[in-house]
Each structure stands twice: as structure tokens, then as C-alpha cells.
């Protein structure tokens, strides 16, 4: 009898905890953030900001394009206050559609010129948060086993030796994927880029759902080459992964990760406080703890040993305005879906 009663009590307590645990978390000051950078960074931002201010922060992790789709879907009744990080074009697009509000930071003058340029392009509805270059990451060991030369240029990736060895983000779901598509368009012209992508498609093993997934898969050895961001590759290197990174010889575009305030969010005051915090040198230094090795937008953040300097020799100036517009985006994506990732092209 006793045993029965005890076990019932235990069960009741457990279910009771379930019932209580949900509502108890509710606090007064709160903020909802969509985070489009690496998950560690998102988690660190959440932890540090909650500890520093006591504001309860709900973070959802979404690739930048998914984030934009979410903001568009929530246009009538936004549930998000701030959009933290992610490639610059979707931010510009959100600005163009009035999904975000104009705000000039108190620290605006401390920011790097490229970050200020991003804000001016978006009529101050967005601002540069970090920057990183796009390039080719590969696993040297796998390349050696394949018995081929390491890729140096974009054109190397379409060599037949790399059949089913390349990974990149899916342009329809990942900002990195779209950046690759548009950067190639800028480099080779639209038709040239699509001719290239069609050839590349044969060598692609998988279009990953998020851009960073492709680099992680190369680290694990599931593929040999990934097209992705330098800072993601450095993050993996820091963890001890055997990974090499190269900026393609034809030129590599740089993304400008951005920060925007969502229009009509419920917690506008908290959102602005968070915005200022995110641009501060302290917050930007914090990123490195999460092994996020992007170039920081606040010029007062000192360079760290081991962090590559912003060597701009191989970097092309990416045409944000052109590729950020809905019309171009839609055309490129539709073309990609219908011409590249299509049954006829395999």
C-alpha cells in the first residue's frame, strides 16, 4: 500500500512541476530576437544580455532568409523585436518593405565605414554588425585521398574529379546559399553564373538547409569541399578540425551581417537598448568567446591575435543594393530552382 501511495505522489509531483514550470518563467521585461548567426553566438548573446540587464530574452535561430519570410508573415502582428545578424541583403529587403524601423545608433560614428555604408543603403533601417568573406573551405586530407590539387578558384570546383564532393547552402533556405548565387552572378554575369552553377550542380553532394551545415559536413568528412564563410571555417579550425580555407582567385564577395529593429514590435524600448548593447565594443568582443571570427563593425574593438586582418585584396565589393531587391532575388531563385536544381540538369 505504502509503495503505491509513494509512487502516486511522485507522479503527481512530476506532473505538477510540468504544470507550474511553464507559467513561472514569465517575467515583466522581455524581448524577442531572431538570431541568424551561429548558434553559439546566439546562446552567448542571450546568456550575457540576460545576466547584464535582467531582461528576459527569447531567441529563435533562423537562417536569414527564413527570418525574412517570418517577418513578412508576421507583418500584421510582429512577434519579434530585433533581428540580430544574418547576411545584409535580406536586411535591406526588409528595410525596403518597411518591415524594420529607422534608428540611428548613438555609437554610429564608432562604426567601420562598411557598417555605416550598410546603414545608409537601408535608410538607417539596418546597420552593419560584422563582416565576413565567402570562399572555399576544404578538407586537405580528403583532397589528398582524392588525388587532386586543392581548389584555388571557382572554376576548379567544376572539375570532374570533385563529383559529389562539394557542399553549399540551399539558396532558397540559406542566406549563404543566396550570397553564393548572387556573388557568382556579379562575377560572371547572370548567364555565365547559371552556366557555372549548372556544371557545379553535378559536383554538389547536398545543398544543406543552413549555410554553415556544409562546412560542418566537410569537417566530419562527409564531403571534401564546402563553399562558405571564412569565419565559419576559422571556427572549425579553432576546434582542431583539419580544414583549409582559400579565397577564390576570381574574387570573393564579403557579406555584411546586419542588425535591424523590427517595425511594430511589442517591446520597442527594450529592443533599442539591446540594439545599442549589440553594437558596443563589449558585446562585439564577446563574439570571439563563441568562436565567431567575423570582423567586428565597431572600430573600437581591438584586433585579436590569430584573427586574420581584413585583407581586402581578393575581396570584391558585393552589390548589396542590386541583389537585395525582391525582384532580382525572386528572379535568381526561380531560375535556380527551375534550371539548376531541376530534374533536367542531372
Amino acid at each position: 500500500m505504502g509503495g503505491k501511495r509513494v509512487s502516486r505522489l511522485v507522479a503527481a509531483v512530476f506532473l505538477g512541476w510540468l504544470v507550474v514550470a511553464g507559467p513561472v518563467c514569465a517575467q515583466t521585461r522581455r524581448i524577442n530576437v531572431i538570431c541568424s548567426v551561429q548558434i553559439e553566438w546566439c546562446e552567448l548573446v542571450k546568456k550575457a544580455y540576460q545576466q547584464a540587464t535582467g531582461v528576459r530574452m527569447a531567441v529563435i535561430h533562423r537562417s536569414s532568409i527564413e527570418a525574412l519570410a517570418l517577418l513578412m508573415a508576421e507583418r500584421k502582428n510582429p512577434r519579434t523585436d530585433v533581428w540580430f545578424g544574418g547576411t545584409g541583403d535580406p536586411h535591406l529587403q526588409a528595410a525596403e518593405q518597411g518591415l524594420t524601423v529607422a534608428y540611428r545608433s548613438r555609437q554610429f560614428d564608432d562604426l567601420q565605414p562598411w557598417a555605416q555604408a550598410q546603414a545608409k543603403r537601408g535608410a538607417f533601417r539596418t546597420v552593419g554588425l560584422y563582416s565576413g568573406a565567402l570562399g572555399i573551405a576544404y578538407n586537405p586530407e580528403q583532397i589528398r585521398r582524392l588525388g587532386v590539387e586543392a581548389p584555388r578558384c571557382w572554376r576548379d570546383l567544376v572539375r570532374p574529379e570533385f563529383e559529389r564532393q562539394v557542399m553549399m547552402g540551399n539558396p532558397t533556405s540559406s542566406g549563404t546559399g543566396y550570397l553564393i548565387l548572387s556573388a557568382l552572378t556579379q562575377l560572371f554575369g547572370e548567364d555565365g553564373a547559371f552556366a557555372y552553377m549548372k556544371k557545379l550542380h553535378r559536383n554538389v553532394a547536398q545543398y544543406t538547409h543552413g549555410g554553415r551545415g556544409s562546412i560542418e559536413n566537410v569537417v566530419r568528412g562527409e564531403a571534401s569541399v564546402a563553399i562558405g564563410f571564412m569565419h565559419d571555417a576559422i571556427t572549425a579550425q579553432e576546434r582542431g578540425a583539419k580544414l583549409a580555407f582559400t579565397l577564390p582567385c576570381e574574387g570573393a564577395p564579403a557579406e555584411i551581417g546586419s542588425l535591424s529593429l523590427v517595425a511594430g514590435g511589442a517591446n520597442a524600448v527594450e529592443a533599442r537598448e539591446f540594439y545599442e548593447w549589440a553594437l558596443s565594443p563589449e558585446a562585439q568582443t564577446l563574439a570571439r568567446q563563441a568562436s565567431a571570427f567575423q570582423w567586428s563593425s565597431n572600430a573600437r574593438v581591438s584586433g585579436v591575435a590569430g584573427l586574420p586582418t581584413a585583407d581586402m585584396s581578393g575581396i570584391i565589393e558585393y552589390d548589396h543594393r542590386r541583389f537585395g531587391s525582391s525582384e532580382v532575388r525572386k528572379r535568381l531563385l526561380t531560375r535556380w530552382v527551375n534550371e539548376v536544381n531541376a530534374p533536367g540538369n542531372e
Binding site: F14, A223, P343
Partner: protein, 747 residues
């Protein structure tokens, strides 16, 4: 009646049902296009959404008109001999659908309208109310009986509940699908241009190309989905049957351990099985590495793509076939086998003439269920799909990008719906055939049929191989959860758990610092709510259907079964299309998620409700009333003890399904509403393999904890059950839930 005759009749009715689906579709589609041409005046913020709502509006008008026409036809004097009330119910549902579509199409106008324009709000709402009233009347009326003015109040209540139920289904399932439907046709063009464009995109090579068979290119996504589904259904069915044949004769120890193994894929999301398999068979997987070092076989990337997805789905879904086959074998009478043996039949003869006929129908049902599961599985193609294009993944990719309000979302959704509906018609047909095992008198002793030696060996080997793979999969996930980066040979760490489920003890209590807590708690809440509500709704509906008269009950049951066969990923996408533009508050968004999960579970709840009701003893209930008990007392003292075990099993099974569903919630989750599965696939998608694995472990633990907690509170035993007991219950639940489909309700 001979069996061939019965078969022919079933085939005929199947043809009629499929043709009916097609005819209904065309009947709305063609006129809707004519009307859509008239809706060209408005052009606003986003032209696609605007076009969608315009098309939806014209769809609604046509459907409403069609409903009125059918209703008028049923009053036509020449139709005297035919089944008039059936036509009236049909007309009422049509009308309700039309009114709901018009109402939804009117919402953008309502949001713009001021309070001074009553027509904008009033007319659609009034239409909706009228349609519901007509439906109520159609259900309320019993066949063969004149309508009494003084119909008892209780029956009115039941008819009201039944019509409310149909309205609920029409608004929440049919209208979202109509939204996807209208996306296919109206891409801002004129009515007829949109029609031809739509037809073109429905049959485009993107979906139907046969390049992989003919050479020169890959196959279209619909072809891939269908081939994958057929492959998975066949192989999983065969695997399940082979294991069941082996286990059926084996001792209880084997039976119990196989049951445990077979239950594991059921309490984890299917994509976790695929992910675990990738740890073994991927290019850098354990098995591949072993083969490479021992035998020098160069590891390739064969796993990421069709093969891997097929393999993952086979291992994730075969338990259903296994349990159904085992149940059928266990119901085989011993007397028959003994008699056959006595008459000189060999083992092979017994197998061919006795065992296979018994296995045939349950296996066919299981295979069709597995086909639909494979068709709507979006997780595996996302995680291990390589470049494989299947319909659910196309639907996901196109709805999560800007192509969302476009034919690219509409076509995969529509194709998924059509294929799933056809499969359901087929499954209903199989399930309605009288089961052979039911025709013979049940004997107390279960029969044991020996297998021919080769088959026995084969199934034994299959069993060992399956067990090894499943153990490998879960071991890889379990070990990976405690290793750095989720790699099996990486050093031990608790980092994965602390990142996801870390907490700190502060003066104020426990502070949950892990990032996964929100989604886990949310998932528990949603699953509890959805499974409890589903269980209650199932019982209530079956009780109601028992009171509204047989034809109406059959009508409601059939309609529900078709609604519930819609793949869950389409429900999620449809919700987003139909209700996303309304802009929901946070609570509203949670409500949508719970609803989507609930709709996925309702078919099973209905089935359980039917079982529960069949167990109630009418005489006892009447006696209780005669002895002066109030109906509440009767319910509490007489009905509840009988219903409770079935209710508990129903809620438990619903809970498991809710916790592991991905398709229905993937497109609905947002900033404050992530659930466990969306969080997991997010982590895996960006290469956070370790955290994903840790989450898998925690999720399984949570399901087990909640189930045993619920068990302690609710079951008659009031003690923690052994594994055998739990497995037996789960097996019973699965067999009961899937055996006859929802159609059993109406009988």
C-alpha cells in the same frame, strides 16, 4: 457471396470514390476559373497573396452555388427513389466549404474596412452561419423517418455537435488546402490564362520527369516520392512480416526484446533514425570506416540520397507492419493448423494456405499507412537527402523562401494531397474486406506455425541484422550525445547537455540557462494539450455519432477519414497560407501549433473512441438509470471505469505522436514557439550534431517519464509496469489504431 464478387464490388466502389474525388475537384475548378477572371479589379500590397484570396473568393462562390444546385436537385421530383438526404448532406458540406472560403477571402477587406462598412464583415459571417445551419438540418434529419417537430432535445444537441465537427474540419483542413489549390492557378493572370498555367505547372517535368529511368537527368519530385513510398512500404512490410513470422514462434524473451527494439523508432522522430544511420553508413560513418580499414573498401557517399532516405524510413516505419503482422499471426487458431498438419500438409503448405491469407490484409493496410508516412516525412530528406528531391522537401523549401506565395508551394502541396487521398481510398477498401481471421471461431490456444527451413533462416538473419542496425543507431546517438561534436570517438563531455539543458541554482530557485528548455517545455505542453483534447474529442465524437443515426454517422466518419489522411506537412503549410496573413498573437500561434498537432492525431482518437464505446455495456448503463442514478453519476460510476484504460492508451499514443511530429509544426514555428522537433532539426541542419543527439536522448527520456507518470496516476494497476507490459500496451494501441482506419467508427 463468393469472395470474387465481394472483391469486384469493392473495386467498383473504389473506382467510384476516386472518380468522385476527381469530379468534385473539376466541378469546382473549372467554374472557379471563369469567375476568377472577374476578380481582376483589386491589386494591392502583395499581388500573389491578393490573387490567392481572389481565387479563394471565386472558389467559394462557385462552391456555394454548386451546393445550392445540388440541394435543389435533391428536391426534384424525379429523384424520388434515390438517397435524397445523402445529397442534401453533400450539398450542405459544399455550401459550408464555399461560405468558409468566402469568409476567409473577405478577411483582407475586413482588415482594411472601418466599422462603418457592415457589409464587409456581415455578409460573409452571415453566409457562414447559414451554411452551418443547413448542415445541422441535414445531419439532424434521419433517413426513412418523417421529421418530427418535437424531436428530442438530446438528439438536437448531438446533431449540433456533429455539424460543428464537420464545420471544424472543413474550415481547418479543407480551406487551407483550397488556399494551396488557388496558388497553383491564380498567379496574377486572368482566369483562363491562370488555368492553363496551373495545368502546365501541375504536370511539369519538375515533378513528373522520368529522367532517372529513361537516362539523361534525374526524376521529378513526385516520381521520386511515389517510388520512394512504394519501395519503403514494400520493404518495411516484408521486413515486418518476416520478423513477425520468426518472433511468433520464439519464446517470450525474444518477443519482449524485439518489442522493445521495435518501439524505439516509434518514440523518436523519424529523422533521428536517419541521422543515426548516417553516423553508421555515411562516408565518415562507423561501418564505412570499419569496412575501409578491415577490407579496404573505399567509403563512398551512397548513403546521402535516395538509398539513405529509403533505409531510414524503412527502419523508422517497419514496427507498424511488424506489430500488425504479429497481431494477425497471434489470432491464428491452433486447431486449424493442427488439422492441416494432420491431413498431411507440409509447413510450406500451411504457410501458403493458412498463414499468408491471414497476413495479407493487415499487411496491406500497414503498407499503405507506411506509404503515406513516407510520403509526408520531411525530416529525413532534409537531414540525409543529398540532392534527392521529394515533394515534402520541395514544399518546405518553397514555403520557407520568398517563392512562398507561388505555384511552387501550391503544386507540391496539391500533389501530396491527391496521392494521399488515393492511398486512403485504397486503404479503406482493403480494411473493409472481411478479415479471414475474424470468420473463424477464436480458439483459446494460439497456433504456432513452423516455417520452412530456408524462410526460418532468412527471417532469423533479418532479425539479427535489424536488431544490430537499430542498436547501432541508438548507440551512436546515445554515445554521440556525450561526445564532443557528436562524434563517437571524440572525448567524453557533458557540453552538449549543458548547452541545451543547462541550469543554475540561484537563490530564487532554478534558472534554466540551456537554450533548449523553452522548446522542450513548449513541446510537452502542446503534446499534453493536444493528446488530452484529442482523446476527449475522440470519445465525444464517437458517442455523438452513435446518437445521430447510422447514415449521418457513416457520412461524418467517411468524411473525417478523408480529411485526416492529408499529410501533416501539408496541414502545416496550409495553416501558414490560410491563417498566416491574419497575423496571430503569440497565443494564437501556439493555438495553431496545437491545432495542427491535434488534427494529425484525431483519426487515431476516433478509432480509440470507437473501441471504447464498443466496450460499454448498454444494459449496465440503462440499469443504472433505472435505479435512479443521474446521467452524471452513471457516467462517473459506470462508464468511466470502462473508458479509462482506452482513454489512457489513446492519450499516451497521441502524446508520443505529438512529441515526435515534425511535418505539421515545421512551418508554423517562430520566435517564441519552437517545439522539440523543430529545434532539433535546426541544430542538425547547421551542424550542431552533438546538441541534436543530446536532445534526442532527453526527448526519449521525457516521453518515458511522462508516460510512466500518467500511467501511475491513471491506470488500474497503480504500479510501474515492466517493459513487457508497456510494450504489450503500445502494441495493442498501434494495432487498434491502424487496423481498420476510421471507418470502423460508423459501424
Amino acid at each position: 457471396m463468393s469472395e470474387t464478387l465481394i472483391m469486384r464490388e469493392h473495386l467498383l466502389s473504389l473506382h467510384f470514390r476516386l472518380l468522385g474525388l476527381l469530379a468534385g475537384w473539376l466541378a469546382v475548378a473549372l467554374p472557379a476559373h471563369a469567375v476568377a477572371g472577374l476578380h481582376q479589379a483589386v491589386a494591392d500590397v502583395t499581388p500573389e497573396i491578393q490573387a490567392m484570396f481572389r481565387a479563394l473568393g471565386s472558389l467559394g462562390e462557385v462552391a456555394l452555388g454548386g451546393g445550392l444546385l445540388v440541394a435543389a436537385l435533391s428536391f426534384w421530383p424525379h429523384w424520388h427513389g434515390t438517397d435524397r438526404p445523402a445529397w442534401q448532406r453533400f450539398a450542405a458540406v459544399f455550401g459550408l466549404f464555399g461560405a468558409a472560403a468566402i469568409f476567409l477571402a473577405g478577411i483582407p477587406a475586413m482588415q482594411r474596412a472601418t466599422d462603418m462598412e457592415p457589409g464587409v464583415h456581415g455578409v460573409p459571417s452571415l453566409l457562414l452561419l447559414i451554411a452551418m445551419f443547413v448542415l445541422f438540418l441535414a445531419i439532424h434529419r434521419k433517413e426513412g423517418e418523417p421529421r418530427h417537430v418535437d424531436a428530442s432535445r438530446a438528439e438536437t444537441g448531438f446533431a449540433l455537435v456533429a455539424s460543428g465537427w464537420i464545420a471544424f474540419l472543413v474550415i481547418l483542413v479543407a480551406v487551407p488546402i483550397a488556399c494551396a489549390w488557388s496558388l497553383v492557378w491564380n498567379r496574377g493572370g486572368s482566369g483562363w490564362g491562370g488555368l492553363f498555367g496551373g495545368l502546365e505547372s501541375l504536370v511539369s517535368a519538375r515533378y513528373w520527369s522520368l529522367g532517372c529511368l529513361a537516362g539523361g537527368g534525374a526524376c521529378g519530385s513526385a516520381v521520386n516520392s511515389i517510388v520512394l513510398g512504394m519501395l519503403v512500404a514494400t520493404l518495411a512490410g516484408l521486413l515486418g512480416a518476416a520478423l513477425a513470422l520468426f518472433v511468433h514462434r520464439a519464446g517470450s524473451a525474444v518477443r519482449r526484446s524485439v518489442a522493445v527494439l521495435a518501439c524505439l523508432p516509434m518514440i523518436t522522430p523519424p529523422f533521428l533514425v536517419g541521422f543515426g544511420l548516417a553516423q553508421l553508413f555515411g562516408k565518415a560513418g562507423l561501418v564505412s570506416l570499419m569496412l575501409e580499414t578491415v577490407f579496404g573498401v573505399t567509403s563512398t557517399r551512397w548513403f546521402f540520397g535516395g538509398y539513405g532516405v529509403a533505409m531510414a524510413q524503412i527502419f523508422a516505419f517497419f514496427p507498424l507492419a511488424y506489430f500488425m503482422a504479429l497481431h494477425a499471426l497471434d489470432s491464428l487458431g491452433r486447431a486449424q493448423i493442427d488439422a492441416a498438419k494432420y491431413l498431411g500438409a507440409s509447413n510450406a503448405d500451411v504457410l501458403r494456405t493458412l498463414v499468408f491469407p491471414v497476413l495479407r490484409d493487415p499487411l496491406a493496410v500497414a503498407m499503405l499507412v507506411i506509404f503515406v508516412e513516407s510520403l509526408s516525412d520531411v525530416g529525413n530528406p532534409l537531414v540525409i537527402g543529398g540532392k534527392l528531391r521529394v515533394l515534402p522537401a520541395e514544399l518546405f523549401y518553397s514555403s520557407s523562401s520568398e517563392l512562398a506565395a507561388n505555384a511552387m508551394t501550391g503544386v507540391p502541396a496539391l500533389l501530396l494531397v491527391v496521392i494521399a487521398l488515393a492511398m486512403t481510398a485504397l486503404k479503406d477498401n482493403v480494411a473493409r474486406r472481411p478479415a479471414i481471421s475474424e470468420m473463424e471461431a477464436p480458439s483459446g490456444e494460439p497456433g504456432r506455425c513452423d516455417l520452412p527451413r530456408t524462410l526460418s533462416w532468412l527471417s532469423g538473419v533479418l532479425l539479427v541484422a535489424t536488431a544490430l542496425v537499430l542498436i547501432g543507431v541508438y548507440a551512436a546517438i546515445g554515445v554521440g550525445a556525450f561526445s564532443e561534436g557528436g562524434k563517437v570517438f571524440a572525448p567524453f563531455t557533458l557540453d552538449n547537455f549543458s548547452r541545451g539543458f543547462g541550469f543554475t541554482l540561484t537563490a530564487g530557485g532554478i534558472e534554466l540557462t540551456g537554450s533548449a528548455w523553452d522548446s522542450l517545455l513548449a513541446s510537452l505542453w502542446c503534446a499534453l494539450l493536444a493528446s488530452l483534447a484529442g482523446g476527449a474529442a475522440g470519445m465525444l465524437m464517437v458517442w455523438t455519432l452513435g446518437k445521430v443515426g447510422k447514415p449521418s454517422a457513416r457520412f461524418v466518419g467517411n468524411l473525417s477519414s478523408y480529411f485526416f489522411s492529408i499529410p501533416s506537412v501539408v496541414i502545416g503549410a496550409g495553416f501558414m497560407l490560410a491563417f498566416g496573413s491574419l497575423g496571430f498573437s503569440e497565443l494564437g500561434a501556439w493555438f495553431m501549433i496545437v491545432l495542427a498537432i491535434l488534427i494529425r492525431n484525431l483519426s487515431i482518437c476516433l478509432r480509440f473512441g470507437a473501441i471504447a464505446m464498443s466496450r460499454l455495456d448498454r444494459a449496465q448503463i440503462e440499469m443504472s438509470g433505472l435505479l435512479g442514478a443521474s446521467s452524471a453519476t452513471t457516467f462517473l460510476r459506470v462508464a468511466t471505469p470502462t473508458l479509462r484504460p482506452v482513454f489512457v492508451v489513446c492519450v499516451a499514443y497521441g502524446f508520443i505522436r505529438s512529441m515526435t511530429t515534425l511535418g505539421s509544426v515545421l512551418l508554423l514555428s517562430s520566435a517564441e514557439n519552437q517545439v522539440a522537433t523543430t529545434f532539433m532539426i535546426d541544430r542538425i541542419g547547421i551542424g550542431e550534431f552533438g546538441v541534436g543527439m543530446a536532445y534526442g536522448v532527453v526527448l526519449a527520456g521525457c516521453i518515458a517519464a511522462v508516460l510512466s507518470g500518467g500511467w501511475l496516476l491513471m491506470s488500474a494497476h497503480r504500479h510501474l509496469p515492466g517493459w513487457g507490459q508497456v510494450m504489450a500496451d503500445l502494441k495493442a494501441a498501434i494495432v487498434l489504431a491502424e487496423k481498420n482506419g476510421v471507418r470502423g467508427v460508423a459501424r
